[in-house]
């Protein structure tokens, strides 16, 4: 084995050791990347690479898309749009058996169309929908499970910060990736609703139903959803209508959400500050990983690791779909360890060359990989979305949440299989753009 290969392997091993010892993922990647780089090229260039990569990454205009959609999501979260969406959906369908669950899925979908984060979506509906479901007599596990599943829509339906990061990393078109997420997101909603009705079929008494409401009230509740719809049409419509670039869509969306919130008296100075702070912190955390990943990436480049991994995987003789499934299994395992964003940033630069080499469509793979890492956020033993629900809803145990999540995990695996079999579900809409 060549010396560089040994250094690369040592690099991976120490990276995982550092991460398990809770060194921030980005810092661990940076430290290992730079150390490895200096072992091969020399300490001088390695140190220069630290300053250059850090500064270049944070001043890259197109990366602005990340904090901007985070800001938009944060503003939307503090301005109570989630509650209105849920109220409207509940008003329409809440009286059906399992209807509150369906309402949660629909409202999550609506919220996901203006918020780019699945964790924020789950957090919002933990406060909005969970108490309602419990009051109606829904079991804890189901209530938490449906929120976890609905939350994952945040990263699939546009806008999506994870898809934006994937686009940035692979130099793919953000707009196309957003578009590719629409049908899989809608498919997810349909499958979640089917799952809920299947649960109702199997255990009819489990999910009680309430009295239907008067049509006048229903229409009043429904009329409130004009705000999120306007915002969605404005941002996503503006993006595809050729009015602005993805980065601009984020900035304009954040500003639009702010203006809308202020005009509707849903925002005050304290809430605006909260939203700005939340976006700043999340952006800083993600950029730390981005910087680290780029440094680690340069180290991998000079050891030519991605090429070697590609050669290795293609030489296994398991076919391109065999390699794909191997990769997705790896994501599920990694999903036990870390956050979606960190997983994407850590792995995509290594996996992406393999995927393109095998002839898979990069846009389609973006959707597949985001679905897989989102699955990691809800499957046991660890999952970011589950943690968030647990922190909002203190009275539930992890076991209960995971029990409620399981039917939806099964649904997601079915959806993944459908998307692998029919890539057109992801690729049809982007193909219309050009």
């Amino acid at each position: 084995m060549a010396e560089t290969d040994l250094i690369a392997i040592l690099g991976f091993v120490s990276l995982f050791a550092l991460m398990l010892l809770r060194v921030p993922v980005g810092m661990a990647m940076g430290l290992v990347g730079i150390t490895g780089y200096s072992m091969i090229v020399g300490p001088g260039p390695a140190l220069k690479l630290v300053g250059q990569t850090s500064m270049r990454t944070v001043t890259e205009y197109t990366f602005g898309v990340i904090p901007m959609f985070m800001l938009m999501g944060a503003v939307v979260s503090v301005s109570g749009l989630g509650r209105e969406l849920f109220k409207a959906a509940n008003s329409m369908i809440g009286h059906v058996r399992g209807g509150l669950g369906v309402a949660t899925v629909l409202a999550c979908g609506g919220f996901a169309a203006i918020c780019g984060s699945s964790v924020a979506t789950a957090a919002t509906f933990s406060t909005v929908a969970y108490p309602e479901m419990r009051r109606a007599g829904y079991p804890q596990s189901f209530s938490a499970g449906v929120i976890a599943a609905g939350g994952s829509l945040g990263a699939m339906l546009p806008p999506s910060t994870v898809l934006a990061v994937y686009a940035v990393l692979t130099q793919q078109d953000v707009g196309k990736l957003f578009m590719a997420g629409i049908l899989p997101g809608i498919l997810a909603m349909i499958l979640y609703v089917i799952t809920i009705f299947l649960i109702v079929l199997i255990k009819p008494k489990w999910l009680p139903h309430s009295e239907p409401r008067a049509w006048r009230e229903r229409l009043a509740d429904l009329s409130n959803v004009w705000a999120p719809i306007t915002l969605f049409l404005f941002v996503i419509g503006g993006l595809y209508g050729g009015f602005f670039t993805p980065t601009e869509a984020g900035g304009v969306g954040a500003s639009g959400a702010l203006i809308l919130g202020v005009l509707r008296r849903k925002l005050n100075i304290a809430k605006i500050r909260e939203a700005l702070l939340s976006a700043t912190r999340t952006a800083a955390a993600v950029f730390t990983v981005l910087i680290g990943a780029l440094m680690f990436g340069y180290f991998l480049t000079i050891t030519q690791t991605p090429q070697k991994i590609t050669v290795f995987l293609t030489s296994l003789g398991i076919g391109s779909y065999g390699v794909l499934i191997l990769i997705l299994l790896m994501y599920l395992v990694l999903g036990c360890l870390m956050d979606a964003m960190a997983m994407i940033i850590l792995t995509v630069p290594i996996i992406y060359p393999v995927i393109t080499q095998l002839g898979f469509d990069p846009i389609w793979f973006g959707v597949i990989v985001v679905m897989t890492v989102e699955l990691g956020l809800i499957h046991p033993p660890v999952g970011m979305i589950v943690f968030v629900i647990k922190s909002v809803v203190q009275d539930v145990s992890f076991t209960t949440i995971f029990k409620g999540v399981l039917p939806f995990v099964a649904t997601d695996i079915v959806r993944l299989a459908i998307l692998i079999s029919f890539p057109a579900i992801a690729l049809y809409l982007p193909s219309l753009v050009r």
Partner: protein, 317 residues
């Protein structure tokens, strides 16, 4: 026997861009002359760092040899800015030999942190727009993606505004009206699909983008006499032309492809119109001269020498 040295070459254009195979061939030729003691690995497509950082990368040893567009960093390399001034260079082949010969006089001062190898230029080209441009006055109020910082100043002088973006983003920006016009060589117009959006083209050698190939100083010094000679023998005006040629041919091949499509208008310039553009560029030249004076250069000597060398290689406009 010389010791073996492995060198990393870094560029910022996609692997299939003709410059990459050309540089690979250039490197192979050095390898041959060095008796196989110098070996090269080419890292295209910003694998080792961003386009803007390529000068620093050679200086700091992040890569050993890098391809640099000095025009990306406004203010940093004022002298080579002369070759970025509008309407000087008529072709990229002999023109590259000329620019290399001319810039060799200044390279050691202006690019003193690196071992300068050679300079060569992109194929001179015009503008590709959604609205028709014929004269400088048409630029007023337009949003233009300039080829480099010097041309950005030209745009500002003419009353237009600048749009900064990487090549893959350009088509999107034109479609969304973020940009109205792009200064781009023909082949790249086709490569990045700009011909789907930009229907008006002014076709005259309005600008050229001079680029340089530089090497890490320490690395160069560490080589044996033979190895240094192998490198030096490949840092010549002849090689500048050789390296620039496939690239220029690729760019030139774009024009008939665009012309063959329906709905495109290619505006050729009369000598009088070229003169109008030249007059409009005067303030840019004046500003450039100021910038050169600030770093202690002699703008008149520099420009005269450029004109003379270009004329010698029959590449003056």
């Amino acid at each position: 026997q010389d010791k073996n040295v492995a060198l990393r070459i870094s560029t910022w254009v996609p692997a299939q861009q003709p410059l990459n195979p050309t540089l690979q061939a250039w490197a192979d030729d050095i390898k041959k002359q060095s008796g196989g003691t110098l070996t090269f690995t080419l890292f295209p497509a910003e694998q080792l760092g961003k386009a803007f950082d390529h000068y620093d990368m050679a200086r700091d040893g992040i890569a050993d040899i890098t391809w640099v567009n000095p025009g990306y960093q406004p203010g940093r390399f004022p002298i080579i800015g002369a070759a970025q001034l509008p309407l000087y260079i008529s072709n990229a082949k002999a023109g590259s030999a000329a620019i290399n010969e001319w810039y060799q006089q200044y390279a050691a001062t202006e690019m003193k942190d690196v071992q300068f190898c050679m300079a060569f230029t992109s194929d001179p080209a015009g503008m590709h727009s959604r609205k028709k441009i014929v004269l400088p006055t048409d630029v007023k109020g337009m949003k233009i993606r300039p080829a480099n910082a010097m041309l950005a100043q030209f745009v500002t002088t003419l009353g237009g505004t600048n749009v900064q973006a990487s090549a893959p983003e350009l088509r999107d920006l034109l479609e969304r009206g973020v940009a109205d016009s792009v200064m781009f060589p023909w082949g790249s117009v086709v490569l990045f699909g700009l011909d789907k959006v930009a229907k008006y083209h002014i076709d005259f050698p309005m600008f050229a983008a001079p680029t340089v190939l530089v090497m890490n100083k320490e690395k160069y010094k560490s080589l044996s006499v033979n190895q240094k000679k192998a490198i030096d023998d490949h840092c010549t005006s002849t090689w500048a032309e050789k390296v620039a040629t496939p690239w220029a041919d690729f760019e030139a091949a774009g024009k008939p492809k665009v012309a063959a499509q329906a709905g495109h208008e290619i505006v050729e310039m009369t000598p009088e119109q070229v003169q109008i553009w030249r007059t409009a560029a005067q303030p840019v030249e004046a500003a450039w001269a100021e910038g050169v004076k600030k770093v202690g250069g002699d703008p008149k000597q520099i420009l005269d020498s450029l004109k003379k060398t270009l004329a010698k290689y029959k590449s003056a406009l």
